[in-house]
Every structure is written in C-alpha cells, then in structure tokens.
C-alpha cells in the first residue's frame, strides 16, 4: 500500500519535473533551434548546391564548391587570416597578461576602477573605434605629424592600409576581452602557494612558469579564444584599416554573399571557418579537462 502511494507520488513528481523542464528549457531551446540551428544548417547545406547563373541557388547536388575551396588563393586567405588573428592574439596576451596581473594586485577600490576603464572602450561603437585609428595613423594624422615634428622621421610613414594596421585595429577591438578572463583567473590564485615557493627558494621566473602560468592557463585559453575567434571572422577592420588590400576570410565570406552572389561557395568558406574553430574548441575542452584535475592552487570558494 505504501509502495503504491509512493509510486504514484513518484509519478506525479516526475510529471511535474517534466513539466518544469519544458517551461525552463522549452522556450529558449525552441527559439535557438529555429533561429540558430536551422539557419546554420541551411547555410551549410548550400555548400552542396550550385550557384544559379545570376546568383541564387540551383538545387543540383555538387561537390564542386569544396574542390574550389582548395584553390591556393583561398587557402592562402584562410592561412593569412589565421596568422593575422594569431598575431593579434599573441600581442593581446603579451599586453593583457601583465595588465591583468597588475590589476589583480591592486587594492579593491582601484581594481574596480581599473576594470571599468578596461571594459569601457569595448562598450563604445566598434566602427567608430576603428575609424579613430584611420584618423590617428593617417599620413597626415597626429602620429605622423608628431613623428615628423620631433624629427624621428623625415617623411610620414605609411602605416595605414597595411597588414600591421589591421592587426592594430583587431588588437584594439578585442584586447579587453583578453584582460577580463585573465584577471578572473589570476585573481583566484592563492598567494600562499607563491609565497611558499619563494620561501623554498624559487626565483620569480621559476615561480611564474611553474606555478602562476599553469594555474592561470584556463583564463589564458579563454582569453585567447575570445580574441582569436572574432579576429578571424572580422571583415570591417581589414576593409577600413587595410584599404581593401588585406583580404581575410571574413571579407571573402561577405563578398561571396553580397558581391559575387555565390551563396554555395560562401557557405563552403563558412564551413571551413566553423570546422577550424570546432577543432580549436575540442583542443580547449581537452586541455581544460586535463587542467581541472590539477586545480590545486585556486581558492576553494571559486
């Protein structure tokens, strides 16, 4: 008797749990299903069809678009984009890590102010920030005028419309995204471990590489992803700061859809980018799982 009522009670409880799941997860997942998954699947499916004569799609199955993507020019653009995004990420790390480290060491009040200041440029309009660099780096602009005025160079250096200009633009856009996760990771470090190591005779460099760096690696990886991914797909910075002379994969994809009206080929390129990123994430997940086990130095309340 008790068993039966427990079972019906369990049934009611399970039904309610089911109902709750529907309420919580249903709306969000349905929305994402319709407006995220389907569009992505759709666009990726175009990769298998032909471009119509004037743009548009002809529903004839073909793998031509894939073979075309292996044309050296496109591989070059993809590699170039990876290199540019990679350099940007490394620079962001070189600048961002020390910055985050210093901020984490500040007294609480200053820490907050510093973080707000780091985040603030990120909240201003991206286009306008990029445009500011056009003004700054122009051959008639303040930087060049300053350099010529001080006498470091005789003639304005052409800095704009070059690959370095694109890297600077991307770095500027995404540096805050590197600093925040880094700060988060560094802030959780338990100072005592470092002090113990110092007491045992380890120098600052040794302490950094053996303790600090490995323990903050999750933050490093997150920060790198936050910078690398948007840099890879960005087309505005190469267009505005690169003078159209640096073609990144984002430009290629945009051009296929908006200029060449070759949606199938654009879809292949998008697939390539996604595949590449999925690979990156698999690596990140694998490495963070490995690191989770060695989470010794972080404070417990994290």
């Amino acid at each position: 008797m008790v068993n039966q009522s427990v079972q019906t009670a369990r049934g009611a409880v399970r039904r309610r749990a089911l109902f709750e799941r529907l309420i919580y997860l249903g709306p969000g997942l349905t929305y994402l299903f319709i407006f995220l998954l389907l569009p992505l699947l759709l666009v990726l499916s175009y990769a298998f069809f032909q471009r119509g004569r004037f743009g548009g799609i002809e529903y004839e199955f073909t793998l031509d678009n894939f073979t075309r993507a292996f044309d050296p020019i496109y591989i070059d653009v993809l590699l170039d984009s990876v290199v540019i995004a990679g350099i940007t990420t490394v620079l962001a790390l070189l600048l961002g890590y020390p910055t985050a480290y210093v901020i984490a060491g500040l007294p609480k009040k200053w820490r907050t102010i510093a973080l707000v200041l780091v985040v603030l440029p990120f909240w201003t309009n991206f286009l306008i920030r990029t445009y500011a660099w056009i003004v700054l780096l122009n051959s008639e602009g303040p930087v060049n005028s300053g350099l010529v005025g001080i006498g470091i160079v005789d003639e304005p250096i052409s800095m704009l419309y070059t690959k370095p200009a694109v890297i600077v633009g991307l770095l500027y856009a995404y540096l805050p995204l590197m600093i925040l996760p880094l700060y988060s990771s560094i802030e959780r470090l338990d100072d005592e471990i470092g002090e113990a190591a110092a007491n045992l005779g380890a120098g600052p460099v040794r302490r950094f590489f053996s303790i600090t760096w490995p323990l903050t690696l999750p933050g490093v990886i997150t920060g790198c992803i936050f910078v690398f991914v948007p840099s890879l797909g960005n087309f505005i910075v190469p267009e505005l700061l690169g003078g159209g002379k640096t073609v990144m994969v984002g430009n290629l994809i945009r051009d296929q859809f908006l200029k060449a009206r070759d949606w199938p080929f654009g879809a292949v390129l998008a697939l390539a980018v996604i595949a590449f990123l999925v690979l990156l994430f698999v690596v990140q997940a694998w490495s963070s799982r490995r690191l989770e086990g060695s989470d010794v130095g972080s404070r417990v309340d994290a």
Partner: protein, 256 residues
C-alpha cells in the same frame, strides 16, 4: 604578493593604447575645423549638426527599438534556460549549443539568418534584426546567469520546497531574487551588445530601417565627417554611464 615593477610598463602601455584613440575622437569633436588634421578652435557646432541629423536620429530610434525588444526577450529566454540547464542538464553539448552564438563568427551567423529569412520569405526589416539579436543575446544572458547560479546556495530552494511551496512560488520568490544581479548584468550586457551590433544587423535588416551602427558605417565609409566625432563622444558618454551604473547596481566586476 608584490608585483614586479617591470609589469607596470605593459600595464600603462595597455591603457595608453586603449585611450589615445578615444581622446583623439573626443578632442576632435570640439574642433571648429572639419579637417581632422588641423585645429581651428573650440566649437560645439558639430553637436548642433548632430542634433539636426535626421538619419542619425532615425538610426538611433531603430537601434533602441531593437535593443530594448531583444533584451527583454533574451533576458526571459536566457534566464529560464540558465535555470533549466543548471537544474536539469549535465550535458556539456547542450551548454555548448546555447553558448554557440557567442562563439560563432558573427558573419557566419548573420548569413545563416539571412538565408533562413529569405527561404521562409520573411520580409526584412527591424523585426528580423530583433529576432536575430535575440539569438546571441540569449547566449550571453544564459552564460552570465548560469555563472551566477554556480555561486548561489541551492539549499534555500530546497528548504522552500520542503516547506511546501510550489515550484512556481519558489522560483519567483527565492530563485529569481537571488539571481537578480546576474539577470540584470546579463540584461545590461545584452542591451549594450545590441546597441553596438553591426554585422548581424547589416545582413538581416531591410532597406529603409537602418540601425545606428549601419548609419555610422555609411558615414565612415564615405570619409571623415566631423559629426562622427561628436557622435562618438556622446556614445562614449552613454557607455560610460551604463557601465558605471551596471557596476554600482550589480558589482559586476565581482562576478568576473
């Protein structure tokens, strides 16, 4: 632990790097000359021009509509999703799926949505931009609320239910209030992202309802116009206020 002095070099370099362009914009917005390469005296003329610029005002109105609408929707969807994922799902894949819009290159997402809207013959306009913005906004809200959930004490909820409260009541009276800072942070983040979002709006918008970033893009493409500097300065002021407010209200940086 004492930080090495050498670290201060990249530290200050970072802040100089981040703020010099902004200073340039702000200073130039008061430049009487339209030529950004020569200073002609202090003037508010560009702010005046800005106030009268119909295109910018229209862009701003449209952007606000999209930002507010998508934030509201995304906050609701995202909060529910975060709670649901936290309570009912161990699946990393599902987590990844809900976070996907934040990590897929926006150009890919934008094109997918354009293709989708085209296929279902949805006329493009502000409504399609709104629908598109909800997608990535939901991802961000979910991520932030979920992060907050990790720090929340579930025992309060359990106690509430043990004492006989219904799930709905527990949710409204216990869960939501404890999540409030995270929800607000998420909403603020979604709002700010939507305000500035260009790529997805560019692809999913109709011809006659440009959002502010799209208007700015046209202005920037056609060269240096001084109103942009005034606009930039104003936007910086707005962002500054929003971030300060967010910080005050939620101690945002504590949950970083």
């Amino acid at each position: 632990m004492r930080r090495s002095r050498w670290l201060l070099i990249p530290f200050w370099a970072t802040f100089v790097f981040l703020y010099v362009p902004i200073l340039v914009l702000v200073v130039m917005s008061f430049n009487a000359s339209s030529n950004p390469f020569s200073w002609d005296g202090f003037s508010l003329e560009w702010y005046g021009e800005l106030a009268g610029n119909e295109d910018i005002l229209e862009g701003f109105r449209n952007t606000l509509v999209v930002a507010v609408g998508s934030t509201v929707l995304a906050t609701v969807l995202g909060t529910l999703l975060a709670v649901g994922l936290d309570k009912y799902s161990r699946s990393k894949a599902l987590d990844a799926f809900t976070l996907a819009p934040a990590i897929i290159p926006d150009v890919v997402l934008a094109i997918g949505l354009l293709a989708f809207f085209t296929l279902v013959q949805f006329t493009l306009g502000l409504h399609t931009v709104l629908l598109a913005h909800v997608v990535f906004n939901t991802a961000f809200v979910t991520a932030i609320v979920k992060a907050r959930l990790n720090n929340v004490d579930h025992s309060l909820e359990e106690a509430s239910r043990d004492l006989g409260a219904t799930s709905a009541s527990t949710f409204v009276r216990i869960t939501l209030p404890s999540l409030a800072p995270g929800i607000i942070a998420g909403a603020l983040l979604a709002f700010t992202l939507s305000l500035d979002e260009f790529v997805i709006a560019f692809f999913t918008n109709g011809p006659s309802t440009p959002t502010l970033p799209i208007t700015i893009y046209s202005m920037v493409r056609f060269g240096v116009t001084p109103e942009i500097n005034a606009l930039a300065t104003l936007l910086i002021l707005v962002s500054f206020t929003v971030v300060i407010a967010a910080q005050r209200m939620t101690r945002l940086t504590d949950s970083v």
